[in-house]
Amino acid sequence: MTQGVSPYNRSTYRYTPILAWMLQPNITISPLFGKVLFVLFDVLSGYLIYVMLMSEKTGQDRSLQCAFMWLLNPLPIVVSCRGNAESIMSFLVLLSLRLFQQNRIILGAIVYALSVHVKIYPLTYCVALYLYYSRNNKEGGQRLTLQWIREKLRPSKENTTLVGVSLFTFVILTGTCYQRYGWNFLQETYLYHIVRRDIRHNFSVYFYMLYLTAGSPYAGIIGLAAFLPQLILIVVCSLKFHKDPPMAFFLNTFIFVTFNKVCTSQYFLWYLCLLPLVLPSLTMSISKGITLIVAWLLGQGIWLMPAYYLEFEGMNTFFWIWCAGLLFFLINIAVIASILDSYVYTPWGRGIQKQE
């Protein structure tokens, strides 16, 4: 990019040009600039967690503890130092939550649109966000009836601002990039990730099924069957937890990653950055929490063994990778279920209600 050429000339560049633009000092100043930048965003994310928890009257000790759960977590540290830009995403998502917490809808919408522009997955939060800003609509009728849904969907003043500003920002960002880099930009930044059929082994429970059916005429239907549970759960989660956006975002992403067709360890960061925000709402004992964490890590370790033998020893361990994938999937389900069991709702944000 420093030479005025498109970053998409590199075949593996699949992100927004804004990222390439930000990393130009890597060439002009030092190759370490990018890594330092990512570490900085990491630390800022921890700061945002602390500030948001303090705002919800969690108390300084607890807030610091939760912030440290992110700051001292080895996974984001390793990922940022390796040069992965995930910490920018966690920063953007946390920042947008902070702005919505303070009811600064316009700024929040801008940051939210920016986060969707950088990586698509925050798009899964849009239903929860919309419903959050219509949570004060009069609940006409019984829950989950058509009338209830219609009331919830009726746009309030905040909603119109939210949707309008987000769309506007997103269109400006995407339009500018498209104007400069053309179809390549759309293809590499978005379409690639949506249509991605990477059949190489990964944590996803669907890996072996998709690999075996890649050439079959039923591949389309099977892909759809793998997509529907994800969609249904995101909608249910948004409907149920929209009054507590950090919980809605966290669960949304955890479910999205667990049920995704491709799952690599980078994706875990997408919900790990939101976990500290949700912790104060969980009544789980520390020993139970640690058991769940250990089980979750063990699940990955058990998967890594046959995966290593396949990739580096050439042994045919496909069946065992599939079994380990199923096991890890079930462990994730158990973790989500335990979180749901121990969840206690408290109202969130400096919304319209509190101002009255």
Partner: protein, 228 residues
């Protein structure tokens, strides 16, 4: 007696001539799995070529095999070989990939005894291959490469056609001469594990059953969570 001695001398000369009359290529593959190392060693008798020769290897890779140009670029900065490579999509499976041609420039020849010797190690990677209902491994064949020299070839009998390639560290093209060589290896084989289509029925049904059941379980759990 005289005839025997004469025969011995003729035989002796013939054998000496056979040993040192031709360039030789030795190839082997190291490591296992999807990431391997291709080791190539070239021997050329000093009588056949000039002292200051440079050589070039033209590899024709089948679709199932590839070199990662970014990896090679990093490797080059740590002492690896110069190379020339087309763009490579490292994520595609074999069925959606083309044959690729790679050019490798081994280091300068060293004179060892009556021969000039050089070697080069290149990391290569294997793509995913489609699953099979009959075998749990498939084979990839890598043909022997073409060898080219950039210098005066003294013995014209080993000379073949000439071709344009980039000179070593410069972008200009030079005219390289292909040479014949002898080798024990016809081609190199790589074993690739593949998925078993026998599993297809049970994998589809069990995977979808588990995911659908868990989806219903979590949905019902969420709907019953108390959120005022």
């Amino acid at each position: 007696m005289e005839v025997d001695l004469f025969m011995l001398v003729v035989l002796g000369t013939a054998i000496t001539a056979a040993v040192s009359s031709s360039p030789n290529l030795y190839r082997t593959v190291r490591k296992n799995g999807f990431h391997r190392e291709l080791f190539t060693k070239i021997f050329i008798p000093t009588s056949l070529i000039d002292a200051k020769c440079e050589c070039l290897i033209e590899e024709q890779f089948p679709p199932g095999l590839y070199i990662d140009p970014y990896e090679l670029k990093n490797y080059r900065e740590k002492g690896g070989p110069q190379f020339d490579s087309p763009a490579v999509d490292i994520e595609k499976p074999k069925e959606l990939s083309p044959n690729l041609v790679f050019i490798i420039y081994p280091q300068q020849f060293t004179a060892i005894g009556p021969e000039y010797v050089t070697n080069v190690t290149v990391p290569v990677h294997i793509r995913y291959h489609q699953p099979s209902s009959r075998y749990d491994t498939v084979q990839i064949q890598l043909k022997n490469p073409r060898l080219y020299l950039l210098c005066q070839v003294i013995d014209k009998s080993i000379q073949m056609n000439k071709k344009q390639f980039p000179c070593n560290s410069v972008d200009n093209n030079c005219l390289w001469t292909e040479i014949k060589y002898k080798t024990d290896v016809i081609n190199i084989e790589f074993d690739v594990p593949v998925g078993s289509l026998h599993h297809q029925g049970s994998v589809i049904s069990v995977t979808l059953a588990v995911t659908i059941v868990c989806c219903l379980y979590l949905s019902s759990k969420m709907l019953h969570t108390h959120v005022k």
